[in-house]
Symmetry: C2
Subunit: 407 residues, 2 copies
């Protein structure tokens, strides 16, 4: 009942009217806040808790029914982070702290192997299913531990955050360990690593040395803005050679517009922190450049993958429209607009906003759809799965709420 | 010039007229033969040979231009097999034997590691890029070696075929070796293995013991028709538990209609070989059942992946229409019709034929497109890539030619 009532509240906001108003900032701020608090979070509160085994169910259909019970560590960490973050930044609700602990305990008790590496997935009761084959489970666990340590003051969890962070750094040159299939004949470095580190180190700021934080930020800015951001095209590549040059191969030509845009709002956050206007401006230019390149002129929306040389990408899902790509673009544009007030940024914001709220939002059942086909129709009507959980939607709602509130 | 002329010849066959004729068998036989010999094979002869380094380029755009030069061992083996098979079964053309040798030499010199396992990919010059992380490269290498040994009488290659076959059997209980990410907590066995073995053993018949062949056929029939073919639904599952029961998990619910249909024509071939009419009938029933289940009533065509319980599949490409799925269906239906003359089989043949020739065939540039979106529009306009090479199209053309010729 509680849940249904709030969904109705949200519909009453009168979204289409909002867009026509001149004093848009406060209205957008309210839209994002209300959607976060009255739609998105109640959805996960109501449907995702595994009260028998701890942790969260993330495979939820469009109405919130559980359709699979496996637990994916990325998503366990991300949801524990989300509820800890809400407790730390929005309101000291005991309910949120309890839900965060629900995930933290599961991750701590079942997510880690003897070497401190995090599994990719477990059964609902916590038996490991898929081995730790890269470091992203570890990254989201570290983020969750750190936010929860702040929320709870729990010293053990704080130490786990620090330990996990340094374990990630130790593994960063060979993140897949024994599961790495490349021979090393043609090495490439991946954008995902500096990108996630630039965010992770800020998340862990309260539990790390100041020097460690600043050093990692310096390295991340350099890698992202000087190495992976290609000067000639203005685009961010997913993989480059160790010397930073481009490679003409499937991976070497790969563009992941959502990744590039997401990293740019991490850069804006760092620019604000350091009062570095040049960094904010360069990140803003890059957001616009990526959007211009990857916007689908035929059906609207941002394409999922592209080949930088216009060759056929190997990803069959290249033309799909994904929720997280569009939400990261909304966050990036709302921040870029807040700090630059550029007209072109605002125009892009409105374009992405109109597409995203129309196609992904599901006022009837709550939360957002994750996967649309190129035409903008729902491709998979899940609200959560193996890769979509309680993370991108609430984080973006929170970030956009705050960007517009402060504008 | 040669190539273009033959494309025109093909258009002159007057395909739409053919379909209206009552005496369809011979006409279809001619269509498949002419398309194989005057369109498909000339395309690969003209565009795929790497004359500098040996082996084949498979990343060819819609006109045959090379857009990437990496070499994928699956596709090297498959193309060497195709040209050896043509030499053995269609005509003793020295050109075909030479093209086959072109690939065989590359695979032999660059495809294998010190333990006799086959890489997934190499650079154009043959430096290994991706380690042997499953046994499918080995399977296609063994098929190629065996056909080429028959074609050439080369004893060394024959021994390599035998050696590779037994290495595959040795690895079959742990086909991914150290690259296996599953913990073993919830083991599943994969349909791909008995399926490929049922075909491989017939391919290697000339180089293996009779007992070995019959034993492997027995095991394959049992696994495919009794274990992976679910009695209740009549569908073939991609993964089952070691005891043969079904599992309610993403992999456990997965259906791959193209795989199931392809395996059924392997079963019909075995049924013919053993004069086992019950096997032919059961395979035919299964083809029809899979088609009924996986045909897209909205846009036509066969869906790529499905969840047996109607839950959201994890494969984002689930709704796409793939060339090989449809070609395998044409082969399966043409064989099923040849041996049963069932009216329902013929109706399905006509339906799949109409869809496939209309959407995948590219009379303008030659060869077939590989990847369509759900609506039947070209999603990637490549003629070859990382997974599509000179294999499914020519093999299906040959098989359908022969099915209709003998009908």
């Amino acid at each position: 009942m509680y849940y249904v009532r709030h969904i109705n509240n949200r519909q009453n906001i009168g979204f289409s009217k909002l867009c026509r108003k001149k004093r848009k900032d406060m209205k957008f701020s309210n839209l994002y806040r209300d959607t976060l608090l009255n739609d998105i979070i109640p959805f996960w509160e109501q449907f995702s808790l595994d009260k028998d085994n701890g942790g969260y169910f993330t495979c939820l259909d469009k109405k919130g029914n559980i359709y699979d019970t496996d637990k994916f560590l990325w998503l366990q960490g991300r949801q524990a982070w989300t509820f800890s973050m809400l407790y730390n930044k929005v309101e000291k609700k005991q309910k949120w702290l309890k839900i965060a602990k629900h995930g933290i305990d599961f991750i701590k008790d079942h997510g880690m192997n003897a070497d401190g590496n995090f599994y990719f997935s477990t059964t609902k009761t916590g038996d490991p299913l898929i081995q730790p084959y890269n470091i992203f489970s570890d990254c989201f666990a570290a983020m969750a531990f750190s936010q929860y340590a702040i929320a709870s003051g729990n010293e053990e969890i704080k130490q786990l955050a620090v330990q996990t962070y340094f374990n990630i750094l130790k593994k960063q040159d060979n993140p897949k360990g024994n599961y790495e299939k490349s021979t090393g004949v043609r090495p490439l470095k991946s954008f995902a690593l500096p990108m996630i580190l630039s965010n992770l180190v800020l998340e862990l700021e309260d539990v790390l040395d100041k020097d460690e934080v600043e050093k990692t930020i310096d390295v991340s800015i350099h890698e992202i803005m000087e190495v992976f951001l290609d000067k000639e095209s203005g685009l961010i590549y997913e993989f480059v050679k160790p010397d930073g040059s481009l490679e003409d191969s499937f991976n070497g030509r790969l563009l992941n517009p959502g990744h590039g845009i997401e990293a740019m709002w991490f850069m804006i956050d760092i620019g604000v922190r350091r009062n570095d206007k040049a960094l904010i401006n360069k990140a803003t230019d890059t957001i616009i450049r990526i959007l211009e390149y990857s916007w689908d002129d035929k059906y609207d929306g941002i394409l999922y993958f592209m080949d930088a040389n216009g060759k056929p990408p190997q990803q069959l899902e290249w033309d799909q429209k994904l929720w997280w790509v569009h939400l990261e673009a909304l966050v990036a544009l709302s921040k870029a607009y807040k700090y630059t007030k550029r007209k072109d940024v605002w125009e892009w914001y409105e374009k992405v906003h109109a597409y995203s709220w129309k196609h992904f939002s599901d006022p009837e059942n709550g939360e957002w759809f994750g996967y649309l086909n190129r035409q903008g129709e729902v491709l998979l009507d899940l609200k959560g799965g193996k890769w979509k959980g309680c993370f991108h939607v609430p984080r973006a709602m929170y970030q956009c709420w705050k960007s517009f509130e402060d504008s």
